[in-house]
Each structure stands twice: as structure tokens, then as C-alpha cells.
């Protein structure tokens, strides 16, 4: 009897879990009728070079609350504005405004003839339906406050531990994708330091012309494997197919990826993630954009589906019951660009940035403290929101 109850209990759990996965799946991209080409051994063929840059903000701006997509008229207007700015930039006439209202270099610096496709979505997050990063658990809030306390009084370059993993050339799970794992602080306070964001900054973010780096991915396949190599962090992910994850005591900065095919969709689940994802006790200086948890209970599920010959839907679900009150899912469109010439970005091998950063910190300790205080102010705005949410839900 006991045994039967256990089985029943197990089956119920499984059904609930399946049901949840279903629901999560339904919020995904529209079903596609496209039939992708096959590899010689019969897997859907995703190989080639993909531009994983989508001009969509992670979270939905308040101006678009309740709306998942732009209207045709809005699309046309964005297109016109983008073209106008391109014309100006090409002529070297435009200046760009950065975070905090700083005037950046003349736009010609980052000008490229590549046209970025205007996206129709108002946010990359497709679940929860409001397009916003879910709230935090009370324990995550406590952890974060302890880290704020440990960081207070430090400059922005007291040691390498104050600098982002990206600058330290360490590949973590959210690397190359970091704005999508965020605390959301930078995006929510765009315009920054408490000032309301200027339309130009918003527009810039929306069109993603401000996204630096070249998030180019090369996908390679062999029987039993998919490999995704990234140009911008010179990293790679080897995804063995149809293999169980290793013992939970195996823990890595990039976790362990496992893949399988569901129809024409490659599903990649990353587990075995180490507990150093947020950099430890000290908050890294621009962590306003990073995944904020330790990583110990983080699980990332990615779904790759070719929508047509030149478009790959990349949908990611971030689950961490210790950090977020619920999972969230974001969707990016990757665009094929097989003519692109990959230039490996040498980080650790050609690394002069870290010593320069630390040396600058030692040369001018006052500015280093100032910079750290600025970053803290950006985080604080978001933190206050998160705190209020936790308080509201605890009263309920």
C-alpha cells in the first residue's frame, strides 16, 4: 500500500512537472512549418555562422506595457529613424549619448553597413507575460544585501575580484548572453543614476546599436554532438546528445550541457553549474547586468529551432528557485551570416586590460571609489523595487 502511494505520488509529481514544461513551451515562438535540411546522419542541420544579436530589450519598457509587439506604423517609424541615424553616422555627423548622459565618441567609430533587422517584439522576455524579470526570493535578497555590505567602501578596481568575469576572461554560464540573465538594473535605470532615460538612449537600446561586441556563433555538428563556438568571448560549448548529466558533484563555471532533439528543435539543458557565478562575496562592478545568484540551483534550458533558412529561434528558460520566485523565458532571433569572417577575440592571451584597470585604480583611488559608488547607485534603484516586491508578497 505504502509502495503504491509512493508510485502515485511520483506519477503526480511527474505529471505536474510535465504540465509546467508544456505551459512554458506554449509561450514560445509560433510553430513553424519550415523543414530544415538534414545532416548526413539525419539530424536537423543548424550548422553555419549566426548573428545572435537581436535588437530587443530584455525587459518590456513601461511605454509598451500590455503589448507584446509593435504595430506596423511603429515599425515603419523605427525603420525611418534608424535609417536617418545611419545616414548621419555614415557621414560622421552623429554623436551618441551613452549611459548617464555622457556624450560618446562620434558614431562613425562603431558604424557598420550591416543593417540590424528591426524587431517586432517589445521585449525578449516572453514569459512571464508582462515581459519583466520575476521578483526575488527573500533568501536571495538577504544574500544580495550581505554582498552589498561586503562591497561598500571598495573602489571599482581594488582587485580583479571587483571586475566582471568578462574582463577576467572567465567563461560563466551567462557569458556572451549576460544582459539576458540580469538583475535588470542597468536596463531599468537606463539614462542612469536616477535621471529619466532620454528618448535617444531608449531608442539606442531598442535598436541595439549600442550593443558592443559581435555576438557571432558558429554551430558545428557531428553524430552525437553539437558544438557552439562564440566569437566575442572566444569560448565554446560542447553539447553531447542523449547522454545523462554527470554526477552532481561535478561543478563547472560553464556547467555541463546536454542536448536532445524534440522534432526539429535542439533542446539543451545546462546543469552542474558551480556556485561562483556571481563572483563571490564582492559584487563585481557592473553586475547590474549579470545573473545575481550563486548558480548552485541554476538550471538553463535552451531551445534552438530553425524558423526559416536564415532565422534560428533561440529560446532560453532560466530557472533558479533560490533566486527568482518563478522561471522566466526569453527569445532571441539569430540571423544567418555565413559570409562573416570570424576574428577570434583573444581575452586571456592578449590581456592588457586587467593590468591597466588595476593600475588606473592605484593611480587614482578617489576616482575608483567614485566609479564604484556610481555603480552602487544604479543597483540600489533596482534593489529597492525588488525589496518592495518581497515585502508585498510576504504580507499577502
Amino acid at each position: 500500500m505504502k509502495y503504491r502511494r509512493l508510485v502515485l505520488f511520483g506519477a503526480t509529481i511527474a505529471l505536474v512537472a510535465l504540465g509546467w514544461v508544456r505551459t512554458a513551451g506554449q509561450t514560445g515562438p509560433q510553430a513553424t512549418t519550415y523543414t530544415p535540411p538534414r545532416t548526413a546522419w539525419g539530424d536537423p542541420d543548424l550548422q553555419g555562422i549566426w548573428r545572435a544579436l537581436t535588437p530587443v530589450p530584455l525587459e518590456r519598457p513601461q511605454a509598451f506595457a500590455g503589448r507584446e509587439f509593435l504595430t506596423d506604423a511603429e515599425m515603419a517609424e523605427r525603420d525611418r529613424q534608424a535609417e536617418e541615424r545611419r545616414t548621419q553616422a555614415r557621414a560622421g555627423k552623429a554623436e551618441r549619448e551613452g549611459d548617464g548622459g555622457l556624450r560618446l565618441y562620434n558614431a562613425i567609430t562603431w558604424f557598420s553597413e550591416d543593417r540590424i533587422k528591426i524587431a517586432r517584439r517589445t521585449s525578449a522576455i516572453i514569459d512571464p507575460p508582462d515581459g519583466r524579470i520575476p521578483g526575488w526570493t527573500p533568501q536571495q535578497l538577504k544574500l544580495w544585501e550581505a554582498r552589498e555590505a561586503a562591497t561598500r567602501g571598495r573602489g571599482d578596481a581594488d582587485s580583479w575580484e571587483d571586475r566582471a568575469y568578462e574582463e577576467r576572461c572567465i567563461h560563466v554560464v551567462s557569458a556572451g548572453n549576460r544582459r539576458n540573465f540580469g538583475l535588470g538594473a542597468a536596463e531599468r535605470s537606463q539614462g542612469n543614476l536616477g535621471r529619466p532615460p532620454s528618448p535617444e538612449v531608449l531608442e539606442d537600446r531598442f535598436l541595439s546599436e549600442s550593443t558592443s561586441g559581435r555576438p557571432m556563433k558558429r554551430i558545428m555538428q557531428a553524430p552525437g554532438y553539437v558544438v557552439i563556438a562564440s566569437e566575442d568571448d572566444n569560448g565554446y560549448q560542447i553539447i553531447p546528445l542523449d547522454r545523462p548529466a554527470p554526477d552532481p558533484k561535478v561543478r563547472q563555471y560553464q556547467g555541463v550541457a546536454r542536448g536532445h532533439w524534440e522534432g526539429n528543435t535542439l533542446v539543451v539543458v545546462t546543469t552542474n553549474i558551480n556556485d561562483k557565478q556571481n563572483g563571490g562575496a564582492i559584487i563585481q562592478v557592473d553586475q547590474g547586468e549579470f545573473y545575481p545568484g550563486t548558480g548552485e540551483t541554476l538550471r538553463v534550458t535552451e531551445r534552438y529551432t530553425r524558423r526559416d533558412a536564415d532565422t534560428l529561434d533561440h529560446q532560453t528558460t532560466v530557472e533558479d528557485p533560490a533566486v527568482y520566485v518563478r522561471p522566466y523565458t526569453f527569445l532571441h532571433e539569430w540571423t544567418r551570416d555565413d559570409k562573416y569572417k570570424v576574428s577570434a577575440y583573444l581575452c586571456r592571451e592578449g590581456h592588457d586590460d586587467m593590468p591597466s584597470m588595476l593600475a588606473a585604480g592605484r593611480f587614482d583611488e578617489v576616482t575608483a571609489l567614485d566609479n564604484a559608488a556610481d555603480a552602487e547607485r544604479v543597483r540600489r534603484l533596482r534593489l529597492e523595487e525588488l525589496k518592495a516586491e518581497v515585502e508585498r508578497s510576504s504580507k499577502r
Binding site: 558544438v227 563556438a229 560553464q254 570570424v342 576574428s343 577570434a344 593590468p355 592605484r362
Partner: protein, 302 residues
Amino acid sequence: MRPQLKHALLAFGAGVVAAMIWNGTGSLVVGQSLPYKAPRTPDGHPDLGGYWQALNTANWDIEGSNAQAGPYANLLGAYTAQPPGFGVVEGGAIPYKPEALALKKKRFESRLTHNPMFGSGPSGDEEDLSDPEAKCFGGGGLVRATYMPYPSQIIQARNKIFIAYQFGVAFRVIHLVDRGGDLWDAIDDDTLDNDRWMGRSAGRWDGDTLVVYTKGPYYRSVTLDRAGNFMSPNARLIERYTPTSPYHLKYEATIDDPATFSRPWKLGMPLYRIVDQPNMELLEFECIPFVEEFMYGTLKKK
């Protein structure tokens, strides 16, 4: 079974055994008389896929050396001691030009004296001579990544050979080019990835052998071991990967670098397939967190 056939088989078996005893090398004889043919990938090329590792002391000194004490032996005892080993250089010695030989010695002496502000000094273009392995640079560098004492993995995709190296989470992509002659022009066709650390590589099949042409310019000189052996940023490299049994891959590299050597020279070794772990995979050897104090400690706020 008919008695005649039985006897014939027995005789054949005895003959094989006799041949093996005669030559004293067992299966190698069979390998020599019938050259090994590698299994094929679904698109018909030799399949070199799997996990491989060199078992030698080339990472300490490709020219070979007797055992010696390692750095900081007073603190670390035999942990850092250098094991003895035969060299992997064909002919035993590397044909350095005199000034390059002097630089090799300087590299050995400077291998652990990392200066974080190199390139920012008065001369601005001083080369950092410390060993990239000590700094966790990807795979230790081109060529050397193959014989660092850690596993690597070959994955063969369509027109690409992807090799992942465990040390420092490194990789390289070899672009297969379907044409004869040498492949130096193919590299310059400007269709290949530009990698200033692992170089630009074009490859093709020569029977069961994967032949890979690689050239720079590399970001800096390429260090070949802990002993200070190196090649210049403009060295040209031809590598050959030949499967010789299901468990062995013959690796050969010919280095042509007139700035450093008086003639081209060659190194070679077997790579062994890792078979003891049925669920083998390349675990991550992310060594950056272990080298930051070594590299930037002097710039930390005190």
C-alpha cells in the same frame, strides 16, 4: 567442420603466431603488413573523433632532458619536479640560429617572471617572455596544446575539424579545403577565421591523414614548452594527424620559421585514445582564477 578446413585454419593461426613471435612485436606486424584503415564518418572521411592525449614529457622540454628539480622545490618538494624524457624532435636537436638560441635561454630564465605592465614600459614593445602555461593562456598555445599533459577532443563537422583542449578552455577550428597543392593561398583567401593565438588553419585529407597548414601572424611568439623553446609570430606549420590503430593517432608537425631556425624541422609523437572512462568528457580546466594573484598581485590595493 571438415577436417581439411580445420587443419588449414590451425596452420594459418600457427603461422600468424609464428610471425608475431618472429618479429617480437605482436600486433604491430599485422599493422605494418595491412595498413590500418580508420572508420568513416557519415560523409565518408576518416573518423578521428574522440578524446586524445599525449603521454610524454614534451611539455617540459621537446628536446628531452634528465630529471631535475622544479621551481620552488624548497616549498613544493617533488610536486613541481621535472620528469625525465626522450625528446620528440626528429634528429634530437632544434636547429636554432645563434641569436634565437640565446633568446630561448632567456625565455627559460624568464618563464616565471611575469610583468603585468609589459608593453606599457618606456620601450612600449617589449615582449613578455614568461611562459603562457603559467598564465593559463589557451591550451598553452598552438602545437603545444597537443602535448600538454591533459586531454583534447576532436569533433568532425561538415568541412570543419573542431579541436577542444582541456587546459585553459581552448579550441581551434581547422577549415577543410578541397583542393591540391599547398594550402598557403587558401589561408589567404580571407574566408578563414582569423585567430591570432591558434593561427589560421586550412586542412585536407591525404588518404587517411588529416594535413593541416597553419600560419600567423600570431599575437606573439609561440612557446613550445617550459624549456623556452619557441617559434616566431610568422612561423609556418604543417601538421599531420594519421590514425594508426583504433587507439592511436600519429601526430607530426613541421615548423618552417627562417627568422628563428636555420632549416625547417619536425616533431612527432603518438596520441593515445582515452578508453578508461566510458563516460569521458572534457571537464573544464578554467585556470584563470588560479593565476590572477601571480599575474596582477602587485597591482592589488594593499
